[in-house]
Amino acid sequence: MIELIAGKYNYWIYICLMMIGFYAIIAKGNLIKKIIGINIFQSAVFLFYISISKVRGGTAPILWENAVLYDNPLPHVLILTAIVVSVSTTALALALVIRIRKEFGAMEEDRIAKLRSDGP
């Protein structure tokens, strides 16, 4: 049992973070808070990728004469790309919230639902 929790702590951290983010997306009515939730949700997956790239006793994946074992650099590169995607998504989402706020004068989901002409 201890082995399951302590030996795989990186997975537990990622699962907890992911669920915190997911909860914020579902339960929060404020549009900005939902975006924060999305960011936590994505960061959890990034951490998962980075943690699986670790090789026990490995050094950073750079050319160095003392290095015998390297960490796997591929997940690092993948996550750099995913971070760029995440930043663009956040930018687009925030831009949308600014325009929603201008048009509806509200940022809460339930208030916007009331102001809509065509119902939910």
């Binding site: 999305i38 997956v45 998962f48 990728y49 591929l74 995607v85 998504t89 929603i100 809509r116």
Partner: protein, 493 residues
């Protein structure tokens, strides 16, 4: 030069999309011409590549000359070739429709950015279709999705912003699930190349890691394809988007999502992969059947034309997933045929809805009284496309649904056959709600501002609908192509 065509196909629209927003005002004024030239060039490239893929069976392109699995590979097989042609063709049609339609729905200073987003969207879709690398697939899904959110937000009403935001939230959850699924597969197999994954994964099929990765990928892609009950973003998005965007998204966006799902299930995994703990095909077939009936019933209750068409999409997507889930040769052929049929017809229907909205201001089914006489060409195209979606004989829809029903019988799934037939019947009933007032009611008070829409808008709508009838009459030709693609996919050439 010709060997670089696969890369050019993605880079060309991408370059044009970046060029337009950063160019001086004089160039921006001809943004439509640049976009259309790029889309037409893409269509020519796609046609050439499709011909090559059908002749050789597979076209492979190595980025920077790095051999896979080390480098990124683009690979086009007959299935990819079909989708490439379809996407390039519908993009051309949607762009030529936009020339008259977009200025009516968008402010003039936003038009260049609008065209730029349309090109980004197709660039992303093309990438999804031709990439042979599963992480690359994720990146292209996000390129297409981000452009899609921006396009939906360009709608006339403020509700479009909310629709876009809700789609963004769900779409990002889906993309993160896909990313996570890819991570699990990489953990288990240590590679990202799809062909390499196919070879390495069978040794670890029994592990929970692969099972979890597969589940995350399928759920993520189900949201992107709007498979019932994960379709909730779709009706609002299609209803409030500008009509060229509704046509483009409905025709290509969800279809390419389904393509990505078929790729994951049949190319990355082998058809033998059927985990006993989670009967994936049974679940998918069940959801697809539920979606067919649910989408059709809700469409029946709609009064807004675009919303009716959106729910009809939910129902038709059910048909396509159903064929893929049955996964024998006949049903898969039917599924691929229905991808083509639904893409062409739904694009035509959304274009007609846009024309009607622009000429008469009518948004509700009740406003269409007597329109069949005032706008004969638009309503004729609408009726032909609706017949093809309902699966009337002599249309493309008949062949696809025939194959689907036959495939279900071959697989011994007798319970699925009535669902296919009932769905078709309901499709006819909800389209009757639009066709009946247009042709069989005395003219209402609403007079069109002008008798018919400009030719630039009408031509693509009529052409797409006519293609549906033509493909139904020359049924042999598309069935042959789809059959070949299905056989290669299922591994029984």
């Amino acid at each position: 030069m010709t060997e670089h065509f696969p890369a050019l196909l993605v880079i060309l629209p991408l370059l044009a999309a970046v060029l337009i927003p950063f160019s001086p005002a004089a160039v921006k004024r001809s943004a439509w011409h640049i976009s259309f030239a790029s889309a037409a060039a893409s269509l020519a490239l796609a046609a050439r590549l499709a011909w090559e893929a059908f002749a050789l069976g597979k076209v492979s392109y190595w980025f920077g000359g790095w051999a896979p699995p080390w480098g990124i590979e683009y690979s086009i097989d007959p299935l990819g070739a079909l989708l490439l042609l379809l996407t390039a063709f519908v993009t051309c049609a949607a762009l030529s429709y936009s020339r008259a339609a977009a200025p009516a729905e968008l402010a003039a200073e936003r038009l260049p950015y609008f065209y730029s987003c349309m090109l980004l969207f197709t660039s992303g879709l093309t990438g999804i279709i031709i990439t042979g690398d599963i992480f690359n697939l994720y990146v292209f899904i996000e390129i297409a999705s981000l452009a899609g959110y921006a396009l939906i937000a360009a709608g006339r009403r403020r509700e479009a912003l909310v629709a876009s935001y809700n789609y963004l939230i769900l779409g990002t959850i889906a993309a993160t699930f896909i990313l996570l699924g890819i991570g699990y597969l990489y953990m288990a197999a240590g590679t990202l190349n799809m062909a390499d994954l196919r070879e390495r994964l069978p040794q670890v099929y029994h592990t929970k890691t692969v099972l979890t990765g597969f589940a995350f990928l399928v759920v993520g892609l189900s949201i992107k394809t709007a498979l019932f009950p994960l379709h909730i973003w779709l009706p609002d998005a299609y209803t409030h988007a500008p009509s060229p965007v509704s046509a483009l998204l409905a025709a290509t966006g969800t279809k390419v999502g389904i393509y990505a799902m078929i790729r994951v299930i049949f190319t990355v995994f082998k058809p033998e992969f059927n985990p006993s703990t989670v009967p994936m095909t049974v679940i998918l077939a069940g959801l697809a059947c539920a979606g067919i009936i649910y989408g059709a019933l809700v469409a029946l209750a709609q009064t807004n034309i675009k919303r009716l068409l959106a729910y009809s999409s939910v129902s038709q997507i059910g048909y396509i997933i159903l064929g893929a889930a049955i996964s024998n040769q006949t049903a898969m052929t039917g599924s691929l045929l229905h991808i083509i049929n639904h893409a062409l017809m739904k694009a035509s229907l959304f274009m007609c809805a846009g024309i009607i909205l622009m000429s008469t201001g009518a948004e509700k089914t009740g406003d269409l009284k007597g329109l069949g006489r005032r706008m004969p060409l638009t309503m004729a195209a609408f009726t032909a496309a609706a017949c093809s979606l309902a699966g009337l004989p002599l249309t493309a829809g008949f062949i696809s649904k025939w194959h689907l029903a036959l495939g279900a019988v071959e697989a011994g799934l007798w319970l699925v056959v009535p669902v296919i037939l009932a769905g078709s019947l309901l499709t006819a009933v909800y389209f009757w709600k639009i066709i009946e007032p247009a042709y069989f009611s005395p003219a209402g008070e609403r007079r069109p501002v002008r008798p018919e829409a400009p030719a630039g808008m009408l031509a693509p709508a009529v052409l797409l609908a006519a293609l549906g009838v033509a493909l139904g009459l020359a049924a042999h030709f598309p069935a042959l192509g789809a059959g070949r693609a299905a056989a290669l996919l299922l591994g029984n050439p």
